[in-house]
């Protein structure tokens, strides 16, 4: 998360609701840049060298325009789609120590977890205990249940993978087409999370924050404001899909071993991505880019969607955090 300089004296938690926080996520780095943990990195510095050399500088410019003086104040550790990238408890301990005292908070990101992954995640959560403003971003309801059962005081955030809405980049900007029946348009521009059953779950599990994507389709107002919990919105990548088989890992796999969940892996995801260009219907040859990052596909949303999301920040009460993912960055000086 990032804080504006106007909230510089406040802790991230104290600033919630008054300022907009900006968190930085490095889903494929073995460790967050030390300068970021020490609270010394500017937004420009942090996004420099990012994978999308066009999108990220433009995003930094847009963020600074909407949130003047903002600096990163929260670091996301872990990967939202692959449990092989879970950090170790020792690493969490050292990062927490590095961040202590400089008002940089930690968010531990958990992917949808297997039974082994859940056991590992519980050890990580114990390593986070006592760390100010730390939170855990959960990617599945089983993890939410287990963590809430065993860690009643833990701040649990619902990760964006649990936000069930269609977001297919090939079609999503047509979801609110006036040619579609009104009920269909409405249903495609909101989730089921305001229904009584989902509300009961949010209360039962004490969820105070949920993450959402920068949707191509304009979400209905209620989807933003009709809820009790705070919202964190991701930029610039929209999650599209994931599998337990991994495309980059197939680079050095052999025969039957490729695409098996938990199969051989040399951390190819930290070295390579695959960019696809998929056609859009009626696009006269136009296409949308999808980025295979590890075992997931993402879409970097266009500038007008970034602007639409950022423009909400000044008028909304619920969205008080922006999460910027940096798939890869050049090594930064420590």
């Amino acid at each position: 998360m990032l804080q504006t300089k106007y909230d510089g004296a406040a802790s991230p938690r104290e600033s919630a609701g008054r300022g907009v926080e900006v968190g930085i996520s490095f889903p494929f780095l073995a460790a967050p840049p030390p300068s970021l943990l020490r609270g010394e990195a500017s937004l420009d510095d942090t996004l420099r060298g990012a994978l999308s050399r066009n999108a990220h500088p433009a995003l930094a410019e847009a963020l600074l325009r909407h949130l003047p003086g903002t600096v990163p104040s929260r670091v996301y550790i872990g990967n939202e789609t692959c449990e092989r990238l879970l950090p170790t408890p020792q690493a969490i301990g050292s990062w927490a120590a590095a961040a202590r005292g400089v008002r940089v908070a930690l968010s531990l990101v958990l992917p949808p977890l297997s039974r082994d992954g859940l056991a590992k995640a519980e050890r990580l959560v114990r390593a986070l205990e006592g760390v100010d403003d730390a939170e855990v971003v959960a990617g599945d309801w089983g993890t939410v249940h287990r963590l809430r059962s065993r860690h009643p005081g833990l701040a649990i955030v619902l990760g964006r993978l649990t936000h069930k809405m269609l977001r297919d980049p090939r079609l999503a900007d047509l979801f609110d087409s006036p040619l579609a029946p009104l009920p269909a348009r409405s249903a495609l521009c909101r989730s089921g999370e305001l229904a009584p059953g989902f509300r009961a779950l949010m209360e039962r599990y004490g969820i105070g924050r949920r993450e959402i994507d920068p949707f191509l389709q304009p979400l209905e107002e209620d989807e933003w404001e009709g809820r009790e919990e705070r919202l964190s919105v991701h930029l610039p990548y929209q999650f599209v899909t994931m599998g337990r088989g991994c495309l980059p890992a197939a680079m050095h796999g052999e025969g039957k071993g490729r695409f098996v969940a938990g199969g051989p892996c040399r951390n190819e995801c930290a070295k390579y991505a695959v960019e696809f260009r998929v056609p859009v219907p009626g696009g006269n040859g136009a296409g949308r880019h999808l980025l295979a990052l590890g075992n997931a596909l993402y879409h970097a949303v266009p500038p007008h969607v970034v602007e639409r999301v950022l423009a909400r920040l000044s008028s909304t009460e619920r969205v008080d955090r922006v999460v910027v993912a940096v798939p890869a960055a050049e090594r930064q000086p420590s």
């Binding site: 789609t81 949808p112 977890l113 297997s114 039974r115 992954g117 859940l118 309801w141 089983g142 993890t143 939410v144 249940h145 287990r146 059962s149 809405m165 269609l166 977001r167 297919d168 090939r170 079609l171 029946p181 009920p183 269909a184 348009r185 409405s186 249903a187 495609l188 989730s191 089921g192 999370e193 305001l194 229904a195 009584p196 059953g197 989902f198 899909t241 994931m242 337990r244 088989g245 495309l247 197939a250 680079m251 050095h252 796999g253 490729r258 695409f259 098996v260 969940a261 938990g262 930290a270 070295k271 390579y272 991505a273 695959v274 696809f276 260009r277 056609p279 296409g287 890869a328 050049e330």
Partner: protein, 326 residues
């Protein structure tokens, strides 16, 4: 026909005309499709339930869209109630966790199964589902036999369990796939044929991509193409004996049965009755062997022989349970 060949349960989709009037084909009521693969008249559901019950076979109706808006849930609750009370269905299959909670509150006597689209991957999810009153967990396709065994153990006495055994693969984790097959087809099937490029994320990787990793990168995309093809029913093909090619767990049935899994799912969706029958006969034949005391090797050998496509079996990409592939 399917009942006499040994089917123990049926599941189906039902889409009433009122849903189509509201949403057209834009929002599918279930994962089967907007119209095809579904019953469109409640009377047909009633008839299916009546005839199935006469043979002691339960019928479940799937409402497994990834989510339903509050308005859709208001529409669906009385519809499900009528299906249960008047058509006599035995339960429903859902994916939306909030809808599960609401169904259990509104219709506490109706069994609710957690769809594979709910992506139940860990024991925490078993506890979650048990607490919410689900009657069964349907394991997602990506789980291996050992995971199914462990989760089945965690579910024992609380939830029934169900695992895929034949047809209808999915390249991605269905519960976390936010794409639609509507109008544009399956993204996974499309990907191998669209322009793409491998991007290095570090200067070191850029150097390797021009050198030692150039060939592995090309091979990666070739393997991806093959995998997608197999998962997509080998191009939706059938053998000359009418046996559907594609995702298959037949040779893992010995181990799968040993997990104690309650039900084995044969996907059918909008496929022909002949394809369904052929699929059922294959599973029944191997399961009968297993239940008759055949060894793991004997059952696997028979599974491969029944399919009679050893080149596909040997490729490995067609298997649901690849760690157990023959």
């Amino acid at each position: 026909m399917l009942a006499s060949e040994g089917a123990g349960e049926f599941f189906c989709g039902y889409v009433p005309p009122e849903w189509l009037e509201r949403y057209g084909g834009a929002f599918w009521m279930n994962r089967r499709g907007p119209v095809a693969g579904n019953l469109l008249q409640r009377d047909d559901v009633s008839l299916l339930a009546e005839r199935s019950h006469a043979r002691g076979i339960p019928v479940y109706v799937t409402f497994n869209a990834p989510y339903y808006t509050p308005e859709q849930q208001e529409f669906l609750l009385p519809l499900v109630d009528r299906l249960a009370e008047e058509s006599g269905i035995d339960g429903v299959i859902v994916s939306d966790v909030g809808f599960l909670v609401e169904l259990r509150r509104a219709l506490p006597g109706l069994p609710v199964h957690a769809s594979s689209v709910m992506a139940s991957l860990n024991p925490g999810m078993i506890d979650f589902l048990a607490e919410q009153g689900a009657g069964r967990v349907i394991f997602p396709r990506s789980l291996g036999v050992e995971d199914i065994a462990a989760l089945g153990k965690a579910a024992a006495g609380r939830l029934e369990t169900e695992a895929f055994v034949l047809n209808e693969g999915c390249v991605f984790e269905e519960g976390y796939c936010m794409t639609t097959h509507r109008s544009v087809g399956a993204l996974c099937v499309q990907l191998p044929d669209v322009p793409h490029r491998v991007l290095p994320l570090t200067p070191e990787a850029a150097a390797k991509l021009d050198g030692e990793d150039r060939r592995p990168a090309r091979e990666m995309m070739g393997a991806f193409r093959d995998w997608v093809w197999f998962q997509n029913g080998c191009g939706n093909s059938v053998t000359d004996r009418g046996i559907p090619n594609g995702p298959c767990g037949l040779c893992a049935l010995y181990d799968l049965a040993a997990t104690g899994v309650t039900s084995l799912k044969i996907s059918g969706r909008s496929s022909s009755s002949l394809r369904k029958l052929s699929s059922l006969r294959m599973v029944r034949a191997v399961l009968d062997l297993v239940e008759g005391g055949a060894s793991r090797e004997e059952a696997a050998r028979e599974a491969v022989a029944i399919r009679n496509t050893p080149e596909f079996c040997n490729a490995g990409y067609m298997c649901y349970y690849r760690e157990k592939a023959s």
